[in-house]
């Protein structure tokens, strides 16, 4: 059924339709509406789940780890400082092979205090072993939650669904909300073979010496790299049932593109508009929405940009002392495989709007046009004071 709904409300409704069994969460702007709504759904008996109130995000993730280990479908939501506080437990969730799904509302890290969109929070957790997916619109929030559980419970790894703070969390859009029966058909109940069970005691996460430790890490890396394919298949199956796909790499006019604007999150819309505007100027431009950042979708990404000469990468983040994190990822993916030039632009941090004009100007500059921002190291910063 079509309806107008806000991003945070959508995330809560998606968790209800996914029939999550345990929610442990701590409120933080801009995700608060999600956990408030889930608390309401559970309180009214519309979702048969346990809601565990906790005193911090570290405890929220610890509770999720315990709940998931018992074989329950587990959900949480956080943002920014809260995600940072979970850091230790994020490693535990992934290393414990627990298929938790978490919404992260992308928000700047303080100081200075700022509530608005910025990707440094989630990208700085990219080495924790979580699958990371970035939504481009509110429909994506709904659909990717189902795909996330399906993939997570197949590969036994947790998934972080990222929503741009305010641009998605507080934006109301028209989306198609699937019926419960349709979701049930796509997402069967979670019933793992191995779980913590008092009637059948066993030990998880015990001490492991060097003899097996590296082998376990190797095995986990192998299975994490396979997630690109697993997500693609889950997206294809979702598309077959619902008519919408949510692949790791989503391209727009890439077939003959020489210039490709690469974005994560909601800037993908403006990137499409910018690419279309450049086409009207006679530039063979396209855009690429990098929906999955971990595991990095090496195969799909290389294939998508195989003909490109310039990649214009937007980073709403920075790794201090290096450059934009997405640009680093893209360079690493293409090293030795492509001669395309990668142009790193840092813009849209702390809530600055990313518009079609900003992205088109970046692409024009990459092709030798007018200088747009301030060059610093390997990146160009847009709209900053010198």
């Amino acid at each position: 059924m079509k309806r107008v709904i806000m991003g945070t409300e959508t995330a809560a409704l998606a968790a209800v339709l996914a029939r999550v069994q345990v929610v442990a969460a701590y409120p933080i702007t801009p995700q608060t509406v999600t956990v408030e709504e889930l608390s309401d759904y559970i309180g009214k008996g519309e979702l048969d789940a346990a809601y565990i109130t906790v005193e911090s995000e570290h405890s929220a993730m610890a509770a999720c780890v315990g709940a998931s280990a018992t074989g329950s479908r587990t959900f949480t939501a956080t943002s920014s400082q809260g995600l940072a506080l979970m850091h230790e437990m994020l490693h535990h969730a992934a290393g414990g092979r627990l298929p938790i799904v978490m919404l992260n509302a992308n928000r700047a890290l303080s100081p200075p205090w700022n509530l608005y969109c910025d990707h440094t929070d989630s990208l700085s957790q990219r080495d924790t072993g979580w699958i990371q997916y970035y939504c481009c619109d509110v429909q994506d929030v709904m659909d990717s939650t189902f795909i996330a559980y399906r993939v997570a419970e197949k590969v036994m790894l947790p998934v972080m669904i990222n929503l741009d703070g305010f641009y998605l969390t507080h934006t109301s859009e028209v989306i198609d909300v699937p019926d419960q029966e349709e979701v049930d058909r796509y997402l069967p109940p979670y019933d793992p073979a191995d779980k913590v069970d008092v009637d059948n005691p066993s030990t998880y996460g015990c001490v492991c010496g060097a003899d097996l430790f590296s082998s376990l890490k190797y095995r986990r890396q192998m299975e994490t790299l396979a997630v690109e394919q697993a997500w693609q298949e889950a997206s294809d199956e979702f598309a077959a049932q619902f008519g919408r796909s949510h692949a790791p790499v989503q391209g727009h006019n890439l077939d003959d593109a020489e210039v490709v604007i690469v974005t994560i999150g909601t800037a993908g819309g403006a990137a499409q508009l910018a690419a279309d505007a450049l086409r009207e100027e006679g530039v063979a431009a396209g855009s690429l929405n990098l929906a999955m950042v971990r595991p990095f979708p090496y195969e799909s990404f290389r294939r998508a940009v195989s003909g490109a000469k310039h990649l214009v990468v937007l980073d709403r983040d920075v790794s201090f002392g290096a450059e934009g994190i997405v640009a680093q990822e893209v360079k690493s993916c293409l090293y030795g495989k492509s001669s395309a030039q990668v142009h790193c632009y840092i813009a849209g941090v702390g809530g600055m709007d990313i518009t079609e004009e900003i992205l088109a100007d970046m692409a024009r500059e990459s092709l030798g046009g007018q200088k747009q921002g301030l060059e610093l190291g390997d990146s160009i910063w847009i709209k900053v004071l010198p």
Binding site: V4, L115, F166, Y167, S172, T266, A270, L273
Partner: protein
């Protein structure tokens, strides 16, 4: 695309009004995107909310720099915020303003839809005399000056009833009264 910008104060209901308007256009079969721009989230602080209405989903996000219509919930905001920023000459400004008075610096440059929303809200017992709830009242005045794409009055009134947490009929009746009583001053 129809781009709407609403100005209000935190707690005044600009964000709720933007969602009601979005849902009304959705009922007319259009794609909508409603988006608030908070400063820091505080009661009384100036806030803005935006609505995009189109025949296809909006790809652009964030501030609408050149809106096609501007809605101002509180006349005092005129002293704090440049509500005319980015407005082309003649664009409609829907303004909550005391009966019989005219904002001289806006008159003639824009199409003004003036409505004493405070008085109407008080008459319909929306909020209190000191803090009337005027967000849905102002939407009634909006209806009079924005025709494209079409929005049927009954559709808006229904969206208001569905979109407010309490006093559904009073809110719709107050919007209806505003629709009938709004003073429209065309650009000279």
């Amino acid at each position: 695309m129809l781009g709407i910008r609403m100005h209000g104060r935190g707690g005044q209901g600009a964000v709720v009004a933007s969602k009601i308007l979005a849902k009304a256009y959705f009922k007319e079969g259009l794609f909508v995107q409603a988006f608030p721009a908070f400063g820091m989230e505080r009661r009384g602080a100036a806030v803005a909310a935006y609505v995009r209405v189109d025949s296809s989903p909006a790809l652009a996000r964030g501030e609408i720099v050149n809106p096609d219509v501007c809605v101002v919930l509180d006349p005092k905001l005129l002293e704090m915020v440049d509500v005319t920023a980015g407005l082309a000459s003649g664009v409609p400004i829907v303004l909550n303003y005391a009966d019989g008075q005219v904002p001289q610096d806006l008159a003639g440059r824009f199409t003004l839809a003036l409505i004493d929303a405070n008085q109407i809200a008080i008459n319909h017992r929306l909020g209190s005399r000191l803090a009337p709830i005027i967000n849905t009242v102002v939407l009634g005045a909006y209806l009079k000056v924005v025709q494209d794409p079409p929005l049927k009055p009954e559709t808006l009134f229904q969206a208001i009833e569905e979109g407010v947490p309490a006093k559904k009929q009073e809110n719709a009746a107050a919007a209806r009264e505003a629709y009938e009583r709004v003073r429209v001053l065309e650009k000279s």
